[in-house]
């Protein structure tokens, strides 16, 4: 029996569709694959022709090098510590402030909030240099304080949490007040649990932003002991003594933690990323 022309056309266009999708997905994956592969190669095989798609021989020496000769484990610990403390700060301060702006009435509330919205437009580069001077004056450069304290809260985070807090019905909060809860208790026992999806989004944004941040940590640290992963990696890549296979080992170590977190929390990542765009 002959295939109906329309069915044929449909299945043909579906094959084309899948070919394009698979082709572009491969283009997204190959650079990652190539960097993992290179990190497992001997340096003399990095730029070999024909290209080595599978490392031969396979070696862990580059990882051992960056973890022992270059303090990548130290960079790693710094990144974890800075990102964790910063995220904790945001979860507490942004959530509480977001709740306050959404649910409590106080003089000048709307005026203060309006000023904050305007401040949201200011690019970081505008306050970067004086901020560095403040850090230098306080003798905070080359300490964790400079990496953490200016970033413990953000207007964006407060704005995000306010949006989530607005969806909580006032009746629930009033009921808790009538039961004798004080204002902080209302926040902690009623609002906070209800805002958990919002907090998940906040955690993702903050952790990712801090983990990947480069300009600020690059400027306030110049001692290897304080480097975060991106700063350490950029430093490694600029040294002309370092070889490509080692740089790629450092690259994989820098990227892997975020990728693992992402694969486990994909749904929250994508919902968080799209929430802002669709609410506009």
């Amino acid at each position: 029996m002959a295939v109906h022309p329309k069915t044929f056309r449909n299945s043909f266009s579906r094959i084309i569709l899948y070919l394009i999708l698979i082709g572009s997905a491969v283009m997204m994956i190959v650079p990652f694959y190539w960097s993992v592969g290179t990190s497992l190669k001997l340096e003399q095989n990095v730029y070999s022709n024909p290209p080595q798609w599978i490392p031969n021989p396979l070696t862990w020496a580059n990882y051992i090098h960056v973890l022992t000769r270059i303090p990548f484990s130290r960079y790693f610990a710094n990144s974890v510590f800075v990102a964790a403390v910063t995220t904790l700060g945001h979860v507490f301060f942004d959530t509480l402030a977001g709740y306050t702006f959404a649910k409590l009435k106080f003089p000048f509330r709307d005026q203060i909030f309006f000023v904050m919205l305007l401040a949201l437009m200011v690019p970081f580069q505008v306050n970067l240099i004086p901020l560095y001077k403040i850090m230098a004056t306080l003798h905070w450069t080359n300490t964790y304080l400079a990496l953490i304290v200016p970033n413990l809260t953000s207007i964006f985070g407060i704005f995000l949490m306010r949006q989530f807090m607005m969806t909580i019905p006032n009746e629930l909060l009033d009921a808790a007040r009538i039961d004798g809860c004080n204002e902080f208790g209302v926040f902690r026992k009623v609002a906070l649990p209800l805002a958990l999806p919002g907090i998940a989004t906040l955690i993702i944004f903050t952790f990712m932003g801090t983990w990947n941040d480069f300009l600020w940590p690059r400027i306030v640290t110049n001692s290897e002991k304080l480097f975060t992963l991106p700063v350490g990696l950029a430093q490694l890549q600029m040294k002309n003594t370092s070889n490509v296979a080692q740089i790629m080992a450092g690259t994989v170590l820098t990227a892997l933690p975020m990728i693992i977190v992402f694969l486990f929390m994909q749904r929250q990542f994508i919902e968080g990323m799209t929430a802002g765009a669709l609410k506009e």
Binding site: Y18, S24, A25, M28, P31, F32, S35, Y47, N49, P50, P51, F93, D94, L96, T100, F101, L104, F106, I112, A119, M121, V122, P123, Q125, V126, N127, L128, I129, P130, L131, Y132, K133, I134, L152, T153, I155, E183, F184, F187, N212, F214, L215, R218, I219, P230, L233, A234, Q237, I247, T251, A255, M258, F262, L263, Q266, I270, M273, A277, L278, E280
Partner: protein
């Protein structure tokens, strides 16, 4: 009896009027100390000849005038950044929309594809840049493939006519997954009934796209472009890692030059660059406000 109610009233008044301020005090102090004061200081420095080492000398608008009329590198940086933004914005969102439209066609394994496109978005720009430096190397994967196809090698990052395009390609690769995911979510929120009604009226695929999909996506399209433009104007990490602004200033961008002046102790001058960047971004933020308000 009265004593109790007075203390009760005091307590209530504290809860009503003082407590809210205590709840926001840390963010407020943080905003004043780390944002507003530096902003004002930066504005003042931009009107001064200031190295950070010696006393500041007031020079009025001289820094701005010099930047715009006399500093060839800055003007080059302004042009480079604009070209980078135009390249990114003409390709990235279009690619994102096309991918989203394809993924929206009842595709199997949609989430696996989405993951693949999204992976670079959450990877740090430094990581993305180090990977692309390797791919772009004179003997790297791209040139090896070109060579094996019998073509000439390209000086991806060493040819001043090509380097900016190479940086833009890597940036588009890094970012278009964000646009894909945002567009896909928007496409899925368009009610099915609209398409069904259109099909009943005999509308073809193109007419459906033109009169249903595109208008429904308009607010998201505006969002994606404005966010993209504002972000791209601040491009720095890629340039720092991949090219250091070279060769011969062909990839020097606004923020890279600002960083460069800052490192050379030209703090007043660098502050003026920051304010020029700010002015450019304000224009786009204002456009976004106008465009989104129109719709409401």
């Amino acid at each position: 009896m009265t004593a109790i109610s007075t203390s009760h009233r005091l307590k209530r008044s504290f809860q009503r009027h003082t407590l809210p301020y205590m709840f926001i005090i840390v963010p407020m102090i943080s905003m004043i100390v780390f944002l507003f004061i530096p902003m004002v200081v930066s504005l003042w420095w931009s009107l001064n000849d200031y190295t950070g080492l010696t006393a500041a000398k007031f020079v009025g608008l001289n820094n701005y005038i010099k930047l715009i009329t006399d500093d060839k590198i800055f003007i080059r940086g302004l042009l480079n950044t604009t070209v980078f933004v135009l390249l990114g914005m003409s390709i990235g969102p279009t690619l994102g929309l096309l991918t989203a439209l394809m993924l929206n066609q009842n595709v199997r394994f949609r989430s696996i594809f989405r993951t693949a496109y999204y992976l670079p978005v959450m990877t740090s720009l430094v990581v993305v840049s180090t990977i692309w430096v390797m791919l772009y190397n004179q003997n790297g994967l791209f040139n090896t493939i070109l060579e094996n196809l019998g073509l000439h090698k390209v000086g991806w990052l060493s040819n001043p006519h090509v380097a900016l395009i190479s940086v833009a390609i890597a940036s588009i690769w890094q970012g278009f997954g964000f646009e894909t995911v945002v567009f896909l979510a928007a496409l899925q929120s368009i009610p099915r009934e609209l398409y069904e009604a259109a099909m009943m009226d005999g509308a073809g695929a193109w007419a459906q796209f033109r009169f249903i999909t595109l208008p429904s996506l308009k607010p998201v399209i505006i969002f994606v472009y404005i966010i993209g433009i504002i972000g791209s104007y601040q491009v720095f990490d890629q340039v720092f890692v991949m090219t250091d602004g070279g060769p011969v200033y062909s990839t020097t961008t606004i923020v890279y030059y600002l960083f460069n002046r800052f490192m050379n102790h030209k703090l007043g001058y660098a502050s003026a660059i920051a304010y020029i960047l700010f002015a450019i971004l304000v224009i786009f933020s204002y456009m976004q406000m106008r465009l989104t308000r129109e719709k409401a």
